[in-house]
């Protein structure tokens, strides 16, 4: 009798260990970017995902009648929740643009809120159709995680913010200082690399969340605050007047990491990838040509250039340019009318954070930036 109980006990322990192993195995994903999301682990809500995805995302999306878009809920300007519970931001508007291109209605989107830890699993598992959530394009993600990165929508990079009163002019002045950052392997690694390159010593202070980090920074527990420049600018623009206001802070122009952010799809569906990619490119093209939601009607009435006709799906000598993407040829008209071009989105979401487009990497190539669209033909 005693032996039986021993057997049962051992069996139970083995079962528990097995379950634990399964649960842990899934936690381990290649997260780790410095995109300023201070969320803990979190997983997506079930977005009626279908699982099987090979070359059929578009037909799944069309059959469902809605787009499942993986977004953030805690990054100002890019993806956040409005007071009325709706998602909003630069990234979120690219979801809306996709829905406008596919259905002709930018409202047909179900937003699935994801954290850094869960985003690639949600994409691979078919819970979302596209991931637009401050995700940095890297080799290992592209190659290992079965993810395909579409045209970069925002060139970010890790920077350093200091108090004006401390008198630092560049990172090279910051020998022996304490630097605050969010927990996240890349942010900390980039920081270590930068200080090592300058032959400087520093002490790192990491936080789970931006709130306590700001409190520590305000209390002068650290001299520098490092994060993606877009996030630093956002925090700076909202720095309380009681603590000195935005003018009391300085963000060095130096960027010590490359963070190209853009939409991500599964890499087994080139048709779907092309749609996502060319909707973004179309918005950049419209920006280059000055076609906005306000003046779209003028361009439709008189396109002028042939490429504009192709972009807007207007007939050229009787025939309409067929993109062969599998969606309406005039999809860009819906996108521009309902969401806007690239520049409009930037102006609406990013400039209020205190990040001007002019002179930045995200200016059009015509103005010396990196935002460049391949030809639409």
């Amino acid at each position: 009798m005693k032996k039986n109980w021993l057997l049962i006990a051992v069996g139970l322990i083995v079962a528990v260990l097995a379950i634990a192993a399964i649960a842990c195995g899934d936690d381990d994903d290649g997260d780790g970017n410095g995109n300023g999301d201070g969320n803990g682990i979190e997983t997506p809500s079930d977005g009626n995902g279908t699982g099987n995805t090979h070359e059929q995302t578009l037909s799944d999306v069309l059959a469902r009648g809605r787009l499942n878009c993986g977004v953030n809920d805690g990054v100002p300007g890019f993806g956040f929740l409005e007071a009325d519970g709706t998602s909003s931001g630069f990234d979120v508007d690219f979801c809306r643009a996709l829905a406008a291109a596919i259905f002709g209605d930018s409202e047909l989107v179900d937003y699935v809120i994801l954290t850094a830890a869960a985003r690639f699993e949600a994409l691979a598992g078919g819970e979302i159709d596209v991931l637009i959530r401050n995700t940095t394009w890297t080799l290992s993600r592209d190659a290992e995680l079965n993810a395909s990165f579409a045209t970069t929508t925002f060139y970010d990079g890790q920077g350093m913010m200091v108090r004006v009163a401390d008198g630092f002019d560049s990172i090279d002045d910051m020998e022996g200082t304490t630097i605050c950052s969010l927990q996240g392997t890349t942010t900390e690694l980039n920081l270590a690399d930068r200080f090592e390159a300058g032959g400087l010593s520093y002490e790192g202070l990491t936080f789970e969340d931006n709130g306590p980090l700001e409190a520590a920074f305000t209390a002068e527990a650290c001299q520098g605050w490092t994060s993606d420049q877009s996030q630093l600018a956002a925090r700076r623009s909202a720095y309380p007047e009681a603590d000195g206001g935005p003018e009391s802070l300085l963000i060095f122009p130096e960027v010590f990491s490359k963070e190209p952010l853009g939409p991500v799809t599964r890499d087994d569906d080139s048709q779907w990838f092309d749609i996502v990619n060319w909707v973004v490119i179309g918005m950049i093209t419209a920006d280059e040509k000055g076609i906005t939601s306000a003046n779209l009607a003028d361009f439709v009435a008189d396109p002028g250039e042939v490429e504009t006709s192709r972009l807007l799906g207007l007939p050229i000598e009787g025939t309409v340019f067929d993109s062969t993407l599998g969606i309406d040829p005039d999809f860009m008209q819906d996108v521009i009318a309902q969401v806007g071009n690239y520049g409009e989105l930037y102006e609406k979401h990013i400039e209020p954070l205190g990040i001007p487009r002019e002179g930045s990497l995200n200016a059009s190539w015509l103005d010396g930036g990196l935002i460049y669209a391949p030809p639409w033909r």
């Binding site: 049962i8 139970l12 079962a15 528990v16 379950i19 634990a20 399964i22 649960a23 899934d26 936690d27 999301d37 201070g38 969320n39 803990g40 682990i41 979190e42 997983t43 997506p44 809500s45 079930d46 977005g47 009626n48 953030n72 809920d73 805690g74 990054v75 100002p76 300007g77 993806g79 956040f80 929740l81 409005e82 007071a83 009325d84 519970g85 709706t86 998602s87 931001g89 179900d110 937003y111 699935v112 809120i113 994801l114 954290t115 869960a118 699993e121 969340d209 931006n210 709130g211 700001e214 956002a234 925090r235 623009s237 909202a238 720095y239 309380p240 209020p352 954070l353």
Partner: protein
């Protein structure tokens, strides 16, 4: 007259002075302790009051009240909440009136609490609806106090109210899902916390009782299975169970369609429902252990006496053992339910925007409120505390009514 007042203070003042002398300034040590403690208390209180009334900027709560209470629930669907709220308000009033009396102090506190509620959260149409809910509660209480209590209908009214509470739950779910329905992944805010807690409590209670009976059963199969289940669940953290409902459960479950809960098959169940199932299964194990304690507290003699009277196994269980066992474990059960209620905030792990997650999303994402983290967390804590404290008071009331500790 005047001389009397001057020479001898009113009795209450005299008593207060006596009490202070006995309790606070009895000796030099006591006096010192009193002075130091009240200095510290005063300082802390000053800091808290200063923060709440002067430093804090409460605009963040007012602006985001919708997000905090119903999360990402789609605009234009709010009407789904009000039938439930109205019914629950009326029932709450009736319940209070039928089973208890509202002391005037408690009434004052409640009325005072309503002032900030209206000032902060109720504007325009919302004010009317909230006022209607409050009016229904008052009406229910008045009806119960003035006509029902003491009248011949009192017992019948109590039964009706209990039936009403039982119906409220399906009504809530019906209102969320009927007439087009709202995708459960969009349920959120404090409403979701409450919903999950109610589902967890209502369903896990009978399940837990069955498990406890199974564990104390004399049939080895039942006993081993129940024990194994309870020990397995109690040995795994809730976070792990929640993560497993997202990652592992769909792999194990068959694609058998279950109406309402999983029309697409069990392996493709809505995550919100999966979380409900997880909370129920988790809570049931703890309820079972609490109930088992009660079962063991019932003296053997009670059962033997009942059997001697010729009562069957079921009758002994239903009329002798369970009533005594459950009454004895009310504090433990309520403790478990309060903890389950607080645990519902862990569902941020599976991406739901509950009260706590909504609060965090606000300060992280809305740049204009990025410095109001303290205000938001304090508010979230207050809301949780109010509900948990109410549950605790309710349990004390229940204990007194059932005479725990007196028999």
């Amino acid at each position: 007259m005047a001389t009397i007042v001057r020479t001898s203070p009113t009795p209450i003042l005299r008593r207060a002075r006596r009490w202070a002398k006995d309790n606070l300034f009895g000796s030099v040590g006591n006096t010192l302790l009193t002075v130091v403690t009240s200095a510290i208390l005063g300082f802390v209180l000053y800091q808290i009051l200063r923060f709440v009334f002067i430093t804090a900027e409460w605009e963040v709560i007012e602006t985001n009240r919708r997000l905090l209470f119903i999360g990402r629930f789609p605009a234009g669907e709010e009407w789904r909440f009000w039938p439930t709220i109205f019914v629950a308000s009326a029932l709450a009033g009736l319940t209070w009136g039928l089973w208890s009396r509202l002391e005037w102090q408690a009434a004052m506190i409640l009325a005072a609490a309503l002032v900030p509620v209206f000032a902060f959260f109720a504007h325009g149409e919302l004010a009317l609806l909230t006022a209607a809910a409050v009016a229904l509660a008052v009406l229910g209480y008045g009806l119960a106090q003035l006509w029902l209590t003491g009248s011949g209908y009192s017992a019948a009214a109590r039964q009706l109210v209990m039936v009403g509470w039982v119906i409220t739950f399906p009504l809530t779910i019906f209102m969320l899902l009927a007439f087009g329905g709202v995708d459960p992944s969009l349920w959120g805010g404090f409403y979701l916390n409450i919903l999950l807690a109610v589902v967890g409590i209502v369903v896990s209670f009978p399940l837990g009782v069955l498990l406890a009976l199974g564990r104390t059963s004399s049939y080895p199969v039942l006993r081993v299975a129940s024990t194994a289940y309870i020990e397995l669940i109690r040995g795994v953290p809730l976070i792990t169970i929640l993560l497993m409902t997202w990652l592992v459960l769909p792999i194990f479950l068959p694609s058998i369609a279950v109406p309402v809960l999983a029309p697409e098959g069990l392996d493709d169940m809505e995550l919100t429902y999966r979380v409900m199932v997880a909370l129920v299964l988790f809570s049931a194990a703890y309820v079972a252990e609490a109930v088992r304690g009660g079962l063991q507290a019932v003296p053997r003699g009670q059962i033997e006496a009942a059997q001697a009277l010729g009562m069957g196994t079921f009758s002994v269980l239903a009329f002798i053992i369970l009533p005594q066992a459950l009454r004895a474990v009310i504090p433990a059960l309520v403790g478990q339910f309060i903890s389950l209620f607080k645990d519902t905030s862990l569902i941020f792990i599976v991406g739901s925007t509950d009260l706590l997650k909504a609060g965090r999303a606000i300060t992280q994402g809305q740049i204009e409120f990025s410095s109001q983290e303290k205000e938001v967390l304090l508010f979230v804590a207050l809301v949780f505390w109010v509900v948990a404290f109410s549950m605790s008071r309710l349990s004390q009331r229940l204990e007194r009514t059932m005479g725990v500790g007196e028999r």
